[in-house]
């Protein structure tokens, strides 16, 4: 095997074999990034303008798209850093592990949108005098919609690293730094990539809903695609609405093609399996990047020259350290300081919770009854939407899954559709509903469906594809009736996948309820009875006690649904219906 060891400085110039358009492309990217940073910086640092006027012009769309994309990107990067730190802390600190994971579980179940008002108010107060305050409020909100599943994924990856790999790292005396880059990060990469896709989709969902909102007597409206869609809908500008939605879809598809697919294809090398699988996701973009020598060698060289000294320093720092036993006993008596800290935290939390409960005193019995009725209505609606989704996606998904050629085409499309934020379509549906004269009661179910059915569809397709063909052949060999085929082969086969899809869809539906049950269209307010509507109404009127109670209710319902129903079904799926041994 021939190896080239070229010196860093001279080689790239001498071996310029890549096409010119790549140079031009790289330069253009650089310029664009520079311009965006300068522009965003100026915008953020200006005095706050809560209601930025939104133009209907299609020419304004690229700028709005850029604002929204930057918000998503920042929120995502924050999420990633936070998720990795959180997962790392939880995985390696048994003292707080159980608490941190329970917190994750609950935070994941709370509908983010009901946090909008307090978060924005807090950020505005924290960064007064700049637009950055409002912006950060919105970004933080998107962040809370993205971060939990990433953190959970990273944590789970760390906890499932095979013991012998950790032992190898330990016996070969890896520094924490080397362990992180050569074991933990690679092991977690695939999970992080897939969860990033889900996260960013969730980010779009939240972004479009929260770029524009009213809170008591204060209105906020930030330049971006969400505001554009909502104002277009309010003024009945169907053309603008159409172009706005097209832009959203374009961005989602472009992200999929330019970012996720190359990332998935690249992350294939982190697959922890013993044999090479023949099924691979291919990405032309990644192939192009791989073929371009400058993009291959330059970053690697720069990276090497940065990381070598770091590795060296970490190695030197722990050169004479003994091996750390992996089962180091952590249950030594906690120090006094830790006790004091724990007591202080507990006291603070207790006081805060008490204050929160005091807020609830102001709620009348009538309000409470309304809230409970709303909870019931929303509960029914969420489950109705799940049921409808399941009813149509199971037959369709199985039919597609059993036809590999069709599946190869439909699967990615379903995945993209699931990433298109349903919130973008709400305005159009609303206009339709108003025209047809239907109420939001039924309409909101349609709105939930819009967001949730795709998750179930692509999971069912995956499930059907995973049913081994020999089992299917056996079924036809023994001349199973259609009923037998479904009950003994297909339904058990797709069950685990179906449950996975339904859990995700259920979370999405609860989240969507906040948006779907209550809407402004122009100066009309459409609403129906439901917890989501009550959350929105409370936000509009600035009734924090009601908002708090409604949020608590909705969280309670989601958490108990997860614990009592989904988790059990999931366990059942894991144990009884697993096809691979």
């Amino acid at each position: 095997m021939k190896r080239n060891f070229r010196p860093l400085a001279s080689s790239l110039v001498m071996t310029s074999t890549w096409p010119v358009f790549i140079d031009a492309g790289v330069a253009a990217c650089g310029l664009a990034i520079f311009f965006t940073i300068v522009h965003m910086g100026a915008y953020w640092m200006q005095a706050p303008i809560p209601v930025v006027p939104i133009s209907h012009s299609i020419r304004a769309l690229p700028a709005y798209a850029a604002y929204s994309v930057v918000r998503i990107a920042i929120a995502y990067l924050l999420s990633l850093v936070f998720a990795i730190s959180y997962g790392y802390l939880a995985a390696y600190n048994p003292r707080v592990e159980a608490w941190m994971i329970a917190a994750l579980d609950i935070l994941q179940s709370i509908p983010v949108l009901s946090f909008l008002p307090p978060v924005v108010l807090a950020m505005v107060a924290l960064i007064p005098g700049h637009q950055l305050g409002i912006e950060l409020g919105v970004i933080l909100l998107i962040f809370t919609g993205q971060v939990w599943n990433l953190a959970f994924s990273f944590y789970t990856s760390l906890k499932t690293i095979p013991r012998e790999m950790l032992e190898a790292a330990s016996i070969f005396r890896y520094s924490a730094w080397q362990r992180f880059w050569q074991l933990e990060m690679p092991y977690a990469t695939i999970g992080l990539v897939w969860n990033s896709i889900v996260s960013v989709a969730g980010g779009w969902f939240a972004l479009i809903a929260c770029e524009m909102f009213t809170m008591g007597d204060r209105s906020f409206q930030l330049p971006g695609l969400g505001s554009y869609l909502q104002t277009a809908a309010s003024s009945g500008d169907v053309r603008a609405l159409f172009f706005g939605i097209a832009t959203v879809i374009l961005i989602v598809v472009a992200t999929d093609q330019l970012l996720w697919r190359p990332l998935i294809a690249w992350s294939d090398k982190f697959k922890f399996e013993q044999v090479e699988s023949d099924e691979r996701i291919v990405s032309p973009i990644l192939e192009l990047l791989r073929r371009s020598p400058i993009l291959q060698s330059a970053p690697r060289r720069i990276w090497t020259s940065i990381e070598e000294p770091i590795f060296r320093r970490f190695a030197a720092a722990h050169r004479n350290e003994p091996t750390h036993p992996l089962d180091e006993n952590i249950s030594r008596e906690p120090s006094l300081r830790l006790w004091i800290l724990a007591v202080a935290v507990a006291a603070a939390v207790g006081w805060g919770a008490w204050q929160g409960l005091l807020l609830l005193r102001g709620i009348s019995w009538a309000d409470l009854r309304l809230l409970l009725a709303g909870a019931a209505a929303t509960f029914l609606r969420v489950n109705a939407s799940l049921l409808i989704s399941a009813l149509w996606t199971i037959p369709v998904g199985v039919a597609i899954g059993f036809n590999p050629r069709l599946a190869r085409f439909v699967q990615p499309v379903a995945q993209i559709l699931a990433s298109v934020p349903a919130t973008a379509f709400f305005p159009i549906l609303l206009i339709g509903l108003v025209k047809l004269g239907g109420g939001l009661g039924i309409g909101s179910v349609a709105l939930m469906l819009l967001g949730t059915q795709w998750y179930i569809l692509f999971n069912v397709i995956a499930g059907a594809m995973s049913i081994p063909s020999d089992l299917r052949e056996a079924a036809s060999l023994y001349k199973f009736t259609r009923w037998q085929r479904w009950t003994t082969l297909i339904l058990p086969g797709i069950f685990p996948y179906l449950i996975t899809g339904m859990v995700t869809a259920s979370g999405g539906a609860w989240n969507a309820s906040v948006f779907a049950e209550y809407s402004h269209l122009g100066n009309r307010t459409l609403s129906t009875i439901g917890l989501g509507a009550q959350i929105d109404a409370a936000t509009d009127r600035g009734q924090f006690p009601l908002l708090l109670l409604a949020t608590i209710l909705i969280s309670l319902m989601v958490v108990s649904m997860n614990r009592l129903v989904w988790r059990r079904l999931y366990r059942l799926a894991e144990t009884r219906f697993k096809l691979d041994a």
Partner: protein
């Protein structure tokens, strides 16, 4: 299995150079070895003093996995730890290597507590534990990087190591592109590249197929005996009795519930060790008995001095005839040709819906006849094998006859005896007596049975089952081997 034969000579000469008594006079004792049994002047590298291990149980208080145990690893020895599943072999290995802290007792590294020493050991894992996202070379370089070596030195040392374990040219491959045997070679390279003082191995060969395991074992012995690695001691966990007796200088057998040492003795068989020799089989039987009767206190290990001196390598002795039918060999070769001439043995067994144990004799037979070669768990057909498989039935018999006479001593002897004798018959007993020297009685009978099978097919001779005599067929075939098809 050529490498084994080569390495045996090295190992033999080196053992004596370490100052091991090569006379067979030392008798092992049970449970405790007086320190003097080990070569004096040697301080243990690792010494465990009354180490115990408990695991916390959610239901009960805790379960004891290892009861208080003393154990030392001294330079110059391969120490094998045997025991039933769940007896705590891996737990013991982890405590001795510093990966796991004993619940009580202390492990010392050159006299200092191991928890305070920078130790230099490596582990070879049963599951290989390679990082799939790193190339072979990066995997081997990783431990060097952890020690702060610069890029050039890392590259140089890792390439040299890969060369040593026979992976030259594979440095840019990823582990999942390699066969199991090659992956474990990477495991060895990674373990040895840091030049460990003690090499720990936790069932390193048990994830591999029989032939690959045999190859790797002999290569390991060769590395160890040639002192190509500065490793001073090897600690091997295994559940394979023969493997332990084949490799180890000292064997410890663990018992269960909780783990404790049941017997601890030296193996004084000279290398190369002959699996068929009396002392070898006696030792294997002895360990087998200890393992299968956990309630009986073990006797002393058998005296290993009664054995004959190791067989002269040049002395002719019978190969073990694999119990396979010629038709099976032809079938296997035809399948191999369909597969492009080469395939993984396990995959072949799968395709044939054979148990691997049923396929192996056929593979061995084909290999013995020179029709195929086995490498890294892959069977590859040879030119003569191709010629054999592609011929029609009569020609096949001729080719088989030629191969059998060339490669199989027993068939050659039977044929020659028949030709020499006037009446052209020889009693079965004549050959049984010769075979009995080497095989058990039952095995000798099976050997003859297989020889008859092959001989009849090749029309070399016939067998009169009533009179138990070999006879030359009516029309004697030419005894000279027919020229191989190109």
């Amino acid at each position: 299995m050529l490498p084994l034969a080569q390495s045996k000579l090295h190992f033999f000469s080196l053992l004596s150079s370490w100052g091991y008594p090569m006379s067979n006079s030392v008798i092992s004792t049970v449970r405790t070895i007086p320190e003097s049994a080990a070569p004096e002047t040697l301080q243990p590298i690792i010494r465990a003093e009354r180490i115990e291990k408990y695991y916390a149980q959610p239901s009960q208080n805790r379960i004891q996995v290892i009861s208080p145990t003393d154990l030392s690893i001294v330079p110059g020895e391969i120490l094998a730890l045997l025991g039933p599943s769940g007896s705590g072999k891996s737990t013991m290995l982890r405590m001795l290597s510093g990966l796991s802290r004993p619940s009580a007792g202390q492990v010392y590294w050159h006299g200092r507590p191991i928890a305070e020493s920078a130790i230099n050991v490596s582990i070879v894992f049963q599951s290989f534990a390679l990082f799939p996202w790193l190339t072979v070379q990066e995997n081997v370089e990783a431990p060097l990087r952890a020690r702060g070596l610069d890029a050039d030195e890392r590259r140089e040392r890792s390439l040299r190591m890969l060369d040593t374990v026979g992976l030259d040219g594979f440095e840019a491959a990823y582990p999942k592109e390699l066969s199991g045997g090659m992956r474990q070679r990477v495991g060895f390279a990674r373990a040895l590249v840091v030049e460990p003082e003690v090499l720990f191995m936790d069932e390193p060969f048990s994830a591999l197929d029989v032939l690959t395991a045999e190859n790797l074992r002999s290569e390991l012995l060769e590395l160890w005996s040639r002192k190509t690695m500065p490793t001073k001691a090897v600690f091997l966990v295994t559940h394979n009795i023969e493997e332990a007796v084949l490799l180890a200088d000292r064997i410890i057998v663990l018992g269960r519930n909780p783990g404790h040492i049941r017997t601890d003795f030296r193996v004084q068989l000279a290398h190369p060790r002959d699996r068929k020799s009396e002392p070898f089989t006696q030792l294997v039987d002895y360990i087998y008995k200890v393992l299968t009767r956990p309630e009986v206190a073990p006797l002393a290990a058998p005296d290993q001095s009664t054995g004959k001196p190791p067989r002269d390598q040049r002395q002719m002795h019978y190969q073990m005839l694999p119990h396979a039918r010629p038709g099976g060999v032809a079938g296997l070769l035809e399948l191999l040709i369909d597969k492009g001439g080469k395939d993984d043995i396990y995959r072949l067994a799968d395709d044939l819906a054979f148990e691997i144990d049923d396929l192996l004799p056929i593979v061995d037979a084909a290999q013995l006849l020179g029709f195929l070669i086995v490498e890294e768990g892959d069977a590859a057909i040879t030119p003569s094998g191709t010629a054999f498989a592609n011929s029609e039935i009569l020609r096949q018999k001729e080719l088989f006859r030629a191969a059998a006479l060339e490669h199989v001593l027993l068939l050659r002897q039977i044929r020659r005896a028949l030709e020499t004798k006037n009446d052209h018959t020889v009693p079965e007993e004549f050959f049984l007596d010769m075979l009995d020297e080497q095989f058990s009685e039952d095995e000798s009978l099976r050997q003859v049975e297989t020889a008859v099978n092959w001989g009849r097919y090749a029309e070399l001779f016939d067998f009169d089952a009533a009179r138990r005599r070999f006879i030359l067929p009516e029309e004697p075939e030419p005894a000279v081997p027919i020229e191989d098809a190109e």
